[in-house]
């Protein structure tokens, strides 16, 4: 490739970087009981929820940040972060798109997602999270007919307190780690999905998250419950505007699958990764965990991670039910100065439980990426089975790719396989493509997409297309 062209590609700026000027209703920076009371009051929460938050805050104060991950970033000053921000219009929520702030719509426009068209075309209901408050919810009626509850977590706390009390924090305990305690204290919004017995959710549920206000961390809380024989597929995608200061993002996602239930959770994560010198970018410290409580239940995580300056994320499955199934499919791309420490945990408790882990990591630029995974087979998990494959592709000689797979096996009938490879793009593969008149950039894209195919085929169709495009964009300028 001509070096000039290369230069251009390398200097390409984050396409989705812009700031919408909306007057935010923002809490002052800092974290104390008053801020938590403020958030809780803003959300019009009942007393028990406030108490829960305050208890979490007490726990958090006694905890220390985890330091075992293979990432390096300046200490976060938790007192400099503002923990709440909502678009001004939250006082009187828009009932339809017409009532939505035109500036908001403009933002979506720039992102290339004309809400009404796209939602209709794709047949997807969008629970839009713009900063911390759900602004608009579509297709709600259709879901209501099926008996599916799909709303913001704040609404669920007010409308379905019994479900929240029963399930919130039951998969990821408040004090699971430093960031879950923090999230439990200050979470501002997120999604709640409840699929009752025997119901297959009529459409794929999708949420678009987007951080907007300056200096505001976003603390989402998502809870998905699938009762016996129920089924749901949930899609989550993120983009964030360009910003110089690091933004903190500490989400918690909990999934509960009862007997024969099937939950599929897909993520495309494209938070702002920082510029090529590593300035700015999102800190993404996420705890995602699903529990297969019922027999024959299934939880499947699929993620495409291209964004964030620092990622710390391990979507996990606790396989309690007999013959329950856990899956983890991941593509992670890091470029420039990005750092990612990501992977999964599969905890086999139930007899005959099975899990599959396919992880594809691509490191370019001066980025550092680690796969960190745990497969734990308890003595009671007779006949448990795990297959793990994690491959890394290195582009350029300044990046790092690491694998830390933990396997703890306490059962002689279990079968656990792990394989990993690390290599660069084969010269012969590149040559083969070039020789047929395909440009180097296209050839690399083809090879990388082929490398990730096992994961992309798990994504819902419209996401798969987006993911491929995203991958190409993320790697632009990395190849030469």
């Amino acid at each position: 490739m001509a070096s000039q062209e290369m230069e251009q590609l390398v200097r390409r700026e984050y396409k989705q970087g812009f700031v919408t000027d909306i007057e935010s209703d923002t809490a002052p920076p800092g974290l104390n009981e008053d801020v938590i009371r403020f958030i809780s009051a803003k959300k019009e929460e009942p007393q028990w929820m406030l108490d829960w938050r305050l208890a979490a805050f007490e726990q958090w104060k006694t905890m220390a940040e985890p330091d075992w991950a293979h990432v390096d970033f300046p200490q976060v000053d938790f007192q400099a972060v503002s923990y709440y921000s909502a678009p001004k219009s939250s006082e009187d929520r828009p009932k339809s798109l017409d009532e939505v702030d035109p500036k908001l719509l403009e933002t979506y426009e720039k992102l290339g997602i004309p809400l009404h068209e796209r939602a209709a075309l794709a047949g997807v209901a969008m629970d839009m999270v713009f900063d911390s408050v759900s602004v608009t919810t579509t297709f709600k009626e259709q879901l209501g007919e099926a008996g599916v509850i799909f709303c913001s977590i704040s609404e669920a706390i007010r409308e379905y307190p019994d479900l929240i009390k029963q399930y919130l924090g039951s998969v990821v305990p408040v004090a699971d780690n430093f960031y879950t305690a923090l999230n439990s204290a200050v979470f501002s919004d997120g999604s709640f999905v409840f699929v009752p017995k025997g119901v297959t959710c009529p459409m794929e549920l999708s949420t678009y998250f987007r951080i907007n206000a300056e200096n505001t961390g976003q603390f989402e809380r998502t809870l998905i419950i699938c009762e016996d024989n129920a089924q749901v597929s949930y899609l989550e995608g993120c983009t964030a505007p360009m910003r110089d200061e690091n933004q903190l993002h500490a989400a918690v996602v909990e999934l509960v699958a009862l007997e024969n239930a099937d939950i599929k959770y897909s993520t495309v994560q494209n938070w702002y990764p920082g510029d090529e010198e590593g300035k700015g970018g999102i800190y993404n410290f996420v705890t995602k965990r699903g529990e297969c409580r019922g027999d024959n239940s299934k939880i499947s995580w699929t993620q495409v991670e291209t964004g964030s300056a620092v990622t710390w994320k391990y979507p996990s499955c606790v396989l309690k039910g007999k013959n329950s199934v856990g899956e983890f499919y991941s593509v992670a791309v890091t470029n420039n100065m990005q750092q990612a420490d990501t992977g999964t945990k599969m905890i086999h408790i139930g007899e005959g439980s099975r899990s599959t882990i396919i992880s594809k990591g691509i490191s370019a630029g001066r980025s550092d990426q680690s796969y960190r995974g745990l497969v734990k087979i308890l003595p009671g998990a007779k006949g448990a089975r795990n297959f793990t494959q994690c491959d890394s592709l290195l582009i350029g000689d300044q990046c790092g790719a690491h694998t830390f797979p933990y396997q703890e096996i306490g059962n002689s009938t279990a079968q656990v396989e792990h394989e990993a490879t690390t290599s660069k793009i084969g010269e012969d593969q590149l040559f083969y493509c070039r020789q047929r008149g395909i440009s180097e950039e296209d050839a690399v894209n083809m090879i990388v997409n082929g490398f990730c195919k096992d994961v992309f085929k798990e994504l819902p169709m419209e996401f798969a297309v987006e993911a491929e495009a995203l991958l190409n964009v993320s790697l632009e300028g990395a190849v030469g």
């Binding site: 830390f404 002689s412 792990h418």
Partner: protein, 438 residues
Amino acid sequence: MSLAEFTDQWLSAVTPQISEGPGWLTDLRQGAVEQFAVLGLPHARLENWKYTDVKALAKRNFSLPGTANASADVESLVNKSSLGLDAIRLVFVDGVFSESASTLGDLPAGVQVLPLAKNANAAKPVLGQVAAANFSGFTALNLAGWQDGVLIDLAANAVLEQPVYLQFVATEQENPVLVQPRILIKAGTHAQATIVEHYAGVEEAANLTNVVTEVDLADGANITHYKLQQESAKQYHIASMHIQQKRDSRFTSHNVCLGGKLARQDIQVELSGEGAEVNLNGLYLGNGRQHLDNHTLVNHNAPHTNSNEDYKGILNDRSRGVFNGRAVVHKDAQKIEAHQSNANLLLSDKAEIDTKPELEIYADDVKCSHGSTTGQLDENALFALRSRGLGEEMARGLLTLAFANEVIDRIEIPAVHDRLEDAVAGRLPEKFNLKGLV
């Protein structure tokens, strides 16, 4: 009581050793004492000791071994546990060199094999050069208080045809003793040698062996190292081996870990010259409540370096196996091949294996892979044997032995190979009924 509180107790156990020997050594030992005071004994919060808890060990009181016991009993014990090699043989009883039991023979020109306690000054250029004192609390403790050992010094182009057989024999002591051997191997350019480190002893021996081995390979040197650990089921065995490799050198390690109540082996390899290659073969077989931990670390510091690792584990009863293989490819170390494989068989529902094959890569022109499997025997292979009239258990036994043999068959010294195959067969469950077949 926390581990830290035992630090002083452990230090006082090695104190008499510190002032032994020449001044430079005392200084070195004193430095190690300070390191140990900082490090203490490893605890489970350290990533490298996550699965191996030495708390129970830390609480024990070990004293220092006295002079070599030369009774007739010991002599017969030494002969009984010997591998019967045609070799240059050095015998250590509870860590103390036994001249009468050893046969140094005639060494070829350029080769020195020296018991360490009496030849401390000869070790000055080598001691502590490859093994960092602060690698772990145990390495610091060894440097502070090693009692005896050996220096094997090979001049350039020296070729030692006979293996060097280092036989460590443990006896039963009223008060369990802390045995700290130091093994130093220095191979000049293109020098070649084979070294066999062997640990065995009486069944009642309940001592702690804390050994550190340093191997320094100059350009083109070729060393084959055997480590056969057959300590009693009451012994504690902590070992770390550190290897420094220069250009085009080659190091092959066969590490067979059968004994010990708690055994921990660390192997650290620094591939620091182009063309250097290391091969690590390992087998661990646990019975009863044994805890067997193997940690390997290969640092690819230079381009064009290769590493191959194959460790196999068989765990029975309530035994627990730990494997941690780590390969690091450093910046600018291009054209690397690093392969790692760890396979485990669990023979009992109470047995456990914790395995972690790690890759850490900071260069792009590499071919690295690792694989790890834990599972059962191949059902098709079992069927094939059953269809030929073998009983189920015997068929399982044969296949299990064949699994172990993949490692044992790489052993090139026939006497060692045969002894080990017997030893492994003997340690497999009786129901397999392998007697007479091997």
